[in-house]
């Protein structure tokens, strides 16, 4: 019995010489299909509505209006990859899944792959930025706090579920007042006959 257990131990010792190492090459490795990374924003789909900003759990997203442009950005240092922005986005413009090309590089252990978002003191902050144009009032020329694409989306969404004859009336009204600022709407709504009291 004693001899057998000794032989077993020696067998284990010798087999360890021929075993492959468990460790992987540093800096690369396996990433799951659903691995979460900094959200990527599809710039064509984004309307700048700010739903992601409302829902963000760590205050990483921000909307900043400067002049005629609105900057929608996600701060990579503050983001905790919870995915609430992607859940709430009405246009489904946000995606947390890692860039497929980069992921393929990581899996193939390509040294040019971007492994992490780590930032040196003089490097640029990892962010996701989209710049959108703000709408100007067609009458007084004042800048409105919403983007051009967003108004088109609102118009589509309002007309989608209406009866065709009602939609025709509302569409005609919307042509005038949707691109006017709030003070202009107040001033001219009676003149244009777009005031809601005409329906009463």
């Amino acid at each position: 019995m004693n001899v057998i257990s000794k032989l077993k131990a020696y067998g284990e010792l010798i087999s360890n010489f021929f075993r492959k190492p468990v460790t992987v090459k540093e800096g690369y490795g396996f990433t799951a299909d659903i691995f979460r990374w900094l959200p990527r924003r599809d710039a064509d789909k984004c309307t700048g509505c700010g739903a992601c900003n409302e829902r963000c759990s760590s205050g990483a997203t921000s909307l900043t209006d400067s002049g005629t442009e609105r900057l929608v950005s996600i701060d990579g240092l503050r983001c905790i990859f919870c995915g609430r922005c992607a859940d709430v986005c009405p246009e489904r413009a946000l995606d947390l899944v890692i860039d497929p090309e980069n992921r393929k590089k990581m899996m193939e252990k390509d040294p040019t792959a971007m492994v992490s978002l780590s930032q040196g003191s003089e490097e640029k902050k990892p962010t996701t930025d989209t710049t959108l144009k703000l709408q100007r009032c067609t009458i007084c020329g004042e800048i409105m706090p919403c983007t051009e694409i967003y108004l088109e989306v609102v118009r589509e969404r309002v007309l989608r579920n209406l009866q065709p004859d009602t939609a025709a009336i509302i569409d005609k009204d919307m042509e005038k007042y949707l691109r006017a600022c709030i003070s202009c709407r107040r001033k001219y709504s009676l003149e244009w006959d777009t005031h809601p009291r005409k329906f009463i």
């Binding site: 460790t23 800096g27 503050r78 992490s116 780590s118 040196g120 003191s121």
Partner: protein, 138 residues
Amino acid sequence: MKIGSPIKKSPWIYHAHAGGCVGCDIELLACMGPRYDLERLGIKWVASPRYADILLVTGPVPLHTKPFLERVYAQTPEPKRVIAMGACGTSCGVFIDDENYSIAGPVDKIIPVDVKIPGCPPKPEAIIDGILKVMRKF
């Protein structure tokens, strides 16, 4: 006196835990496990800042911990570099600094930071990447 790049191969790291959940710290433990095994690269965790070359700080630094972190930074011998790790360490993460009464701000408000590793928590690959980046700064 400034010494030119004394550390080329084997940095010793002191891990300072400054508040926060222990998510980042568990990910650091995973770094020392058999899969990633940082010790084979010569990267060693030490028990005292007196031996350390690199200071690795996790957590959003509460007011209570601020003097200790300053002391640990002062105890680390020159030349030294600092890594801030996790969403909390880099920018306070969910503990937003303007609204929270008990947070002394992210790490770079208190001590100079050389490399930031974002993520909640960051992957072991990201940690290794950050350590390799800070080694180039010596």
